[in-house]
Each structure stands twice: as structure tokens, then as C-alpha cells.
Amino acid sequence: MPAHSTETLEQDKGAQRAPRPAPAKLELAGIGKEFRTKRTVTQALSGIDLTIGDGEFVSLIGRSGCGKTTLLRMLAGLLSPSSGQILVEGRSLWNGAKVDSSVVSQLGVVFQEANLFPWYSVADNISLPLRLRGDGKEERRERAHELAELVGLKGFENSYPRELSGGMRQRVAIARALSIRPKLLLMDEPFGALDALTRERMNLELQRIALATNATVVFVTHDITEAVFLGDRVVHLTPRPGRIRQVRSIDFDRPRSIDVQTEPAFGAIVRDLRHALDEEG
């Protein structure tokens, strides 16, 4: 039986879960980031305090250039913060400019660009994380197959990235991030390149996977509707320097169906957030 359907079974359990469980998965305390170049100093982020619970889904919105990617990269262990601390399950991710690699190993990251390896087929790209940690060939093949189906790329397992469209590549990148069943999933505008219908389907899939695996997700998006639909909370960042302007709790029951978007309460939240973004000018 494919693991896929066990995930579906677990989904019901997830549905009864409180929207914001108690134990902190991620703690950001006073995070700031400065970029120094020869001529300028850019204060990209300043004084970010945020606690994210285990299994929580946090959407991150804000104008272009407000520091969303920067924040995500620090969480992913790719960029050290200039100030403040990041705790993953109480353990410090950064020791100065060095990253604690044992913390990184349970992480799934989807970047703004797909960043696939053109020399590997779709299946090999998807299962690369498994290969790196030493899983067997048969296991990798099966998991890649399962994930290709999940992201709607069944039949493309043996294709090469150059034969895929931009949106398909991004879906391969998502499958790659999911391959190790990460407990912490960091996604930077993963669905930006997808058409509206595929995007909707991917939103539902992501919600299902997050519930089924009880993964904690930090999800960056430009799309306010998407942020509200997916998030347990929506964090709104303002630019120069990037600060948290507001954190909005979204309390619709899970799993949410697409119909939730037509509810008046949903529309009100989206409108509110849009106004707040507009005010930045």
C-alpha cells in the first residue's frame, strides 16, 4: 500500500487538532539582518520576534524586498542573522556564523527558483535528498514515483528538467523538499509560477500533507488569499527595515475546502490585510 494513502487516513486525526498547539517548534528572538556592501548598508530585517508552534502553518506576506526571503534563508541555515537568536525545538540553530547541522537535517526547503539539477531526471531530482542520506535505490525509486504522482507529474519521472515548464519544475522542487518527510518545511513563493487552477490544487495538497505529517510550515507568498487560506496565522512584514507589522490568527476549521474562500469572514480578513499592505504605499 502506498504511503500516500496512510497519510490520507492520518488526515482525520489532524482535523481535530487545535489550530495552535502549545510546544514551540521555532522561536525567533530579536532577529535582525544587515547587508553590508562597499557603498551601502541595508538593514533588511530588524527586531523580529515570533514563536511558531509544532505543526503550525505560518504564512508570511509583505511587499517585494521587505525581507521575506532573507528571513527564510536564516531559518534554513543558509544565512546567519546579524543579531538575535533562532531556536529550533529549543536548540540554537546558529552559533555565531556557524550553523548546527544536526538541526538542518529535518528541514525541507523550497526556494523561489526551482534550482533543479539538469543532469538528473525528475525522479533523481526528487529523491536526491534520500540519496544523500543513504537510502537504497528501490526505496528512492518508489518514493520518487509516489511524490511525482502527488505533485501531478506522474509519467514525467524519466524526463529531464529542460523538458518541463516553469511550473512543473517548481513542482519537482516541492516534491524534492517533501521527500524526506520534513518536520519543518520552509517555502518561498513556491506556487508563484503556477496557473490558478494548479495553484488551488497544490494549496489543497499542501494543506493535506501538512496536516498528515504534522509538519510545521513557514510559507512566503505574495498572494493574500493563499496566505489566509493556508495559514493558521498570517504574518505581515513591512519593508526598510523589515519588521513585523501584524500577526493575524486565522481560525477556520481544518481541513479547509476551497469554498471557505467565499465565506464573508474570509473575505473580510483578506480585505483587511490588503488595506494594510496598501497603506505602506
Binding site: A76, V104, N115, F117, W119, L132
Partner: protein, 265 residues
């Protein structure tokens, strides 16, 4: 469907046609202008001479010498070029401090050094192997250096976010993304290696197809000269296609390979 097929067949038809046209034009030119055989022999005479040259056993010994020198020099250039290219590509300060020297040694007409090599290493194969290695070294080394640097930052971040070890990053990312550059260098390098060998043979020694060129010239045997040049071209083509075949085998995913397939289709 039909159009695709005719597109693929086109080079197989057009190439012989162009060659035939070329030989006909050559023949007509010689006949009409009544060119002396010493200057430009007619194609048929060259062909007869070619048959003669090919059937002579010593020709093959000469060809073997040239091939050995070229391949030897090329392999030396391959190993040293990749090694030096990787080091210089990775260690920025070393590259910076050596750059003036590298540029200078590229500008120096290396062919001018052959007489020196003859003095140092004699008239045998060694001086030619060194010459061909030296010429092939630079394009390979420079391409590898470029390749090592060109690993995409985003792909590096993927490996880092996956907690990959240095060795894994090398194996799955750096090696793979440098390969196209290595092969671009090798394709230029093999051509340079042949040039190095032949020029080396022109200037010193008594072996190799390059030497045969000089000898037939001294004997004022123009048809034989042409025949040897044809043999040299065939040798060059063969070596080039070996390298090209290796490239198609090792990096079928690269656009320089699959792009070509699209064109041929």
C-alpha cells in the same frame, strides 16, 4: 514526420554533394588554367598518390607516431589542465597572483619554443609530446577554471540546505556542472594537440606525418604532399570525433549535446 526525417537525412546527402562539387571545381580549375602539377595537382592524381601512400607500410608507422604523440600530449594536458584548473578555480588568491604569468604564457608563441625542446629532449617523440601537451593545456585549464566558478549559487544552496557533505557536493553538483566546460576545453584541446604535434614534426625529427609533409615537399612531390595532408585531416577528424563521442556519452543532458540532436532532427 516526413519533414523531420528529411531534415535528419540532409547532411548525409548534402555533404557528399558538396565534396563532389568541390572536386569537380578543383579539376576544372586545374584543366582550364593549365596549372602545373607542382603547384596544384588534379584531384585524380592526388587520389592515385593517396592510394600509393596508404598502401605503403611505413606510412602507417608514421601515422602511429603522430597519433601516439598527439594522444600522449593530450592526456598530459587533460590531467594537468583539469588539476590546475580546479585548483585555480577554487583558490582565488592563487589565481590572482598567477594571472599575469598565465596571460603572459598564453601570449608567448609556444611554437617558437620547439627548437629549444629539440635541444633539451632530442629529435624523438618527447619534444613533440611536450609541444602538443603545452598547446592543449591552456584551453582545457581555462575552461575548467571557468567551470568550477560557474556552479550556480542556488544549486549550492540546495546542497547546503540538504546538509550535504563536501564530497557529496562535489560529486552531485560541482563535478556535474563542470563537465560541460571540461568537454568544451577538450574539444579545443584535441585540435591544439594535433597542431602541436605536427608543427613539432615539421621542425625536427624523422618520424610522423608532419615529417612526411616536409619530406614530400623537399622531393617536390605535390600529389604525395596532398595525400599526406588528407591523411592528417582524417587523423584529426577521428580524434575529434572520439572526444565528441565521449562528450555525448558523459553529458547527454547538456544543451550542447541535446541542442545538436534537435538541429539534426
Amino acid at each position: 514526420m516526413n519533414r523531420e526525417r528529411s531534415k535528419r537525412l540532409l547532411p548525409w546527402i548534402s555533404t557528399p554533394l558538396i565534396l563532389i562539387a568541390f572536386f569537380v571545381a578543383w579539376d576544372l580549375f586545374v584543366r582550364i588554367n593549365d596549372v602545373s602539377e607542382l603547384v596544384l595537382p588534379p584531384p585524380l592524381t592526388v587520389f592515385e598518390s593517396l592510394v600509393e601512400v596508404v598502401t605503403e607500410a611505413s606510412t602507417w608507422e608514421h601515422a602511429l607516431v603522430t597519433a601516439t604523440e598527439t594522444i600522449g600530449g593530450f592526456l598530459i594536458a587533460l590531467v594537468s589542465g583539469v588539476a590546475v584548473g580546479v585548483v585555480l578555480g577554487k583558490v582565488a588568491w592563487l589565481e590572482n597572483s598567477l594571472r599575469p604569468l598565465i596571460v603572459a604564457s598564453q601570449v608567448v608563441p609556444k611554437v617558437a619554443l620547439i627548437p629549444l625542446f629539440v635541444i633539451w629532449f632530442g629529435f624523438g617523440m618527447t619534444s613533440k609530446v611536450i609541444m602538443s601537451a603545452m598547446l592543449a593545456f591552456f584551453p582545457i585549464m581555462l575552461n575548467v577554471q571557468l567551470g568550477v566558478r560557474s556552479v550556480e549559487a542556488g544549486q549550492r544552496e540546495v546542497m547546503r540546505s540538504l546538509n550535504a557533505s563536501r564530497w557529496q557536493t562535489f560529486l552531485h553538483l560541482e563535478l556535474k556542472s563542470t563537465m560541460p566546460y571540461v568537454f568544451a576545453g577538450l574539444e579545443v584541446g584535441i585540435v591544439f594537440a594535433i597542431i602541436g604535434t605536427i608543427v613539432g614534426e615539421y621542425l625536427g625529427g624523422s618520424e610522423g606525418l608532419g615529417y612526411l609533409v616536409v619530406r614530400t615537399l623537399n622531393e617536390l612531390d605535390a600529389p604525395a604532399l596532398f595525400a599526406v595532408i588528407i591523411l592528417l585531416s582524417v587523423l584529426g577528424l577521428l580524434l575529434y570525433f572520439v572526444v565528441h563521442g565521449l562528450k555525448r556519452f558523459f553529458i547527454p543532458w547538456h544543451e550542447s549535446v541535446y541542442g545538436q540532436q534537435d538541429v539534426n532532427r
